[in-house]
């Protein structure tokens, strides 16, 4: 089990006139925990349904383990899908649920029962096989769904926002559980979510989608530190955004003329002079000028302090720079909290700013 497991090659999905997934390429490695992250309606479920075989792509191909899946129904693919609402069979007991895939393969009852118990033990539900799904709690149901999918020994497990129905604490708990199960089994997980925290903490790699397009694929670090489009930059984590035009270039840096002044940042898109550009700076990379010692950053501006939110280890400062709202994180150190008010000089280093071609932002 190595090499590519799932491959979308030039896949397109149309429903009538509406294109739910634009021409997309995706390569998922065997044994990988791969997440697809994007806002509601961007086509995540559609991609999953193409991989699992409920719908055929309008164009392009889907390969699993190097084999073209065209014409093979969901019951003939080495995938198992965990549905957005779990879809446990309400009229069967928990163990019958887990063993359904084996029943479909003609395994006899005693063997089914035994295997179901093993899988239930794997997901920490030993001895619960005799219950009905309605007699389980939310987190337990979740794990039954995982066990049921694993029973058919899929080479790929597809999970469609499986945690969205759980409350916050349980979701946290299930994150690590799922990750643990994935490590134990070595099955490729394709995990869909619109929760960036989930995607970033659990995955080996993340694909960020927007309106039917895959905008970027990379590790959590790459996605967070080197977003390649304005959408990815603003969808994942918080950003301060300055709009302007490129006024000058300097060895991988671009100087952008904005209404608040000229800012120098990393030229992420290879822009030329005169191009419409956006400068992105994370709140934690914005700082008060002359506060931390060290050299003053190259990019500076003045802003009015409008409010603060204590997050514990750091403070969220809300600033206003001539009408442009900014957010800045300051470390919660002894001298910081109370005194900050009024007009302040803030700044950021050019290596902490990213300049990209102007485009659509993720709306808050």
């Amino acid at each position: 089990m190595h090499g590519k497991n799932v491959e979308l090659s030039e896949a397109v999905m149309r429903f009538g006139d509406f294109t739910a997934v634009h021409r997309s390429n995706l390569e998922i490695e065997a044994g990988e925990f791969f997440s697809i992250l994007g806002p509601s309606g961007c086509g995540k479920t559609t991609i999953l349904r193409m991989i699992s075989g409920f719908i055929e792509p309008s164009e392009g191909r889907i390969l699993i383990g190097g084999e073209d899946m065209r014409g093979r129904g969901p019951n003939n693919r080495p995938t198992a899908l965990i549905f957005q609402n779990l879809a446990l069979f309400p009229l069967m007991t928990v163990w019958e649920n887990v063993a359904f895939g084996l029943e479909a393969r003609g395994v006899d009852k005693a063997a089914r029962r035994k295997r179901a118990e093993e899988l239930l033990a794997l997901v920490d539900l030993a001895g619960q096989g005799g219950k009905k799904p309605t007699e389980l709690s939310g987190g337990q149901r979740q794990r039954v769904a995982v066990a049921r999918a694993l029973a058919v020994e899929p080479s790929v497990l597809l999970l469609d926002e499986p945690l969205s129905a759980l409350d916050l604490k349980l979701r946290q708990h299930m994150r690590s559980e799922l990750r643990e199960i994935q490590r134990k089994t070595g099955v490729t997980f394709v995990f869909i979510t619109h929760d960036q925290g989930e995607a970033l903490t659990m995955s080996d790699r993340v694909a960020v989608m927007n309106q039917g397009r895959v905008e970027q694929i990379g590790s959590a670090d790459e996605i967070y530190l080197n977003p390649r489009t304005p959408f990815v930059a603003t969808f994942v984590g918080q950003q301060n955004v300055f709009r302007g035009k490129v006024a000058g270039l300097d060895e991988g840096l671009a100087q952008v003329e904005t209404s608040l002044g000229r800012f120098l940042g990393i030229n992420g898109d290879g822009l030329g002079v005169g191009d419409d550009a956006m400068v992105f700076v994370r709140p934690e990379r914005l700082g008060l000028v002359g506060r931390n010692g060290g050299a003053a950053p190259g990019n500076q501006l003045e802003a009015e302090v409008e409010g603060r939110e204590l997050e514990g280890p750091f403070i969220n400062m809300f600033l206003n720079a001539q009408g442009l709202p900014l957010t800045m994180h300051v470390t919660n150190s002894a001298e910081m909290p109370a005194q900050l008010a009024g007009r302040q000089k803030v700044g950021f280093r050019s290596e902490d700013a990213l300049v990209l071609r102007a485009g659509d932002l993720a709306d808050e």
Binding site: S52, G53, F54, G73, P74, N75, N76, T79, A80, L81, F83, N85, A87, F89, P90, L91, M92, F100, G101, E103, A104, R105, T134, E135, L136, S137, G138, G139, Q140, R148, A149, A151, V152, D167, L168, K169, L170, Q172, H173, R175, S176, G197, E306, G307, R308, E309, L310, E311, G312, F318, A341
Partner: protein, 304 residues
């Protein structure tokens, strides 16, 4: 204040009066009918009271035409269930699962027997089968009754199928289930309650049916057609005895049903309470695990 309470009292009195009249209207005929079954008079009556007797019960036990009629009624009703349910289910599947521009037309056609007068169903069944030399009798009665009872079954199955979560079938397919297995393990069990309801309704519709049956029954008879034909010669309290028996059966069935429903409701309630406790525990456990949960820490007091 006192005006309001007197108004309330008036409303209450009107409501009570209404209920009294309603129950009188419902039950007076039943009471009269039942009493007449125990009257030693030769005709069903309560005004001509000749003293208590049970002789009409023994008369019923010896009335062969009634007993055979009852047996025929049950045979026909079972036959109707066997034919109507599969037909109704097939129609319901076509109408709920397949979409075409003919769906509306097909629906109208399949429901139309309910709106067709029963006499016409009976006569047309008889005339149609005469071409194949099949005479009136129990078999034709089953077919004639099924022609409209199947439509009722179809409506019941449609209502159920429309509430089905299709995702369950998809999930079963995804796990490798064949269409047959998915039907047998997922769809059919989901339909069990409706199969029970549809059977009861088909049974009841069949045993009480007169209009259609009387034409299709030929030389045979059912309980209802037998009672009907006796009207011509005047009734005997034996008929009232049948009525009493049916009333008793109905009351017993309804009581049992209510009892089991209540028990089921209590069971579900108990499970729900237990689940809530379990979720609470899971949350506490997650909390105890510590740091990993910190991300959700509630932000401290907000903006200055």
């Amino acid at each position: 204040m006192s005006a309001q309470s007197s108004e309330n009292r008036v409303a209450q009195a009107i409501l009570n009066g209404y209920l009294a009249v309603f129950f009188l209207y419902m039950f007076a005929p039943l009471i009269v009918m039942s009493l007449a079954a125990f009257n030693a008079y030769d005709y069903p009556s309560v005004t001509q009271w000749r003293g208590w007797t049970l002789k009409w019960f023994s008369a019923l036990a010896e009335d062969d035409r009634i007993l055979i009629g009852l047996q025929n009624t049950v045979v026909v009703a079972l036959g109707v269930i066997v034919i109507s349910l599969p037909l109704g289910l097939a129609g319901a599947f076509i109408l709920t699962r397949l979409q075409s521009r003919w769906t509306g037309l097909l629906y109208a056609a399949l429901v139309s027997p309910i709106l067709t007068p029963g006499i016409i169903l009976g006569i047309s069944t008889l005339i149609f089968w005469r071409n194949f030399d099949v005479p009136g009798g129990l078999f034709l009665t089953v077919l004639a009754q099924s022609s409209f009872i199947a439509s009722y079954s179809m409506l019941l199955f449609m209502a159920r199928l429309q509430r089905q979560d299709r995702v369950l079938e998809e999930a079963a397919l995804d796990l490798g289930g064949s269409n047959l297995l998915v039907f047998r393990r997922i769809t059919l069990p989901f339909l069990y309650p409706t199969i029970a309801t549809a059977s009861v309704i088909a049974f009841l519709q069949s045993i009480e049916n007169y209009n259609t049956t009387v034409f299709a029954i030929g030389g045979d008879w059912t309980l209802v057609t037998e009672i009907g034909s006796r009207f011509r010669f005047g009734l005997s309290p034996v008929i009232n005895v049948i009525g009493v028996i049916f009333v008793v059966l109905t009351v017993v069935a309804a009581t049992l049903y209510a009892y089991y429903r209540e028990r089921e409701r209590k069971r579900v309630l108990a499970i729900e309470l237990e689940l809530r406790a379990m979720d609470r525990q899971a949350r506490l456990a997650a909390k105890r695990r510590g740091p990993e949960a910190d991300e959700t820490a509630v932000p401290l007091p907000a903006r200055a």
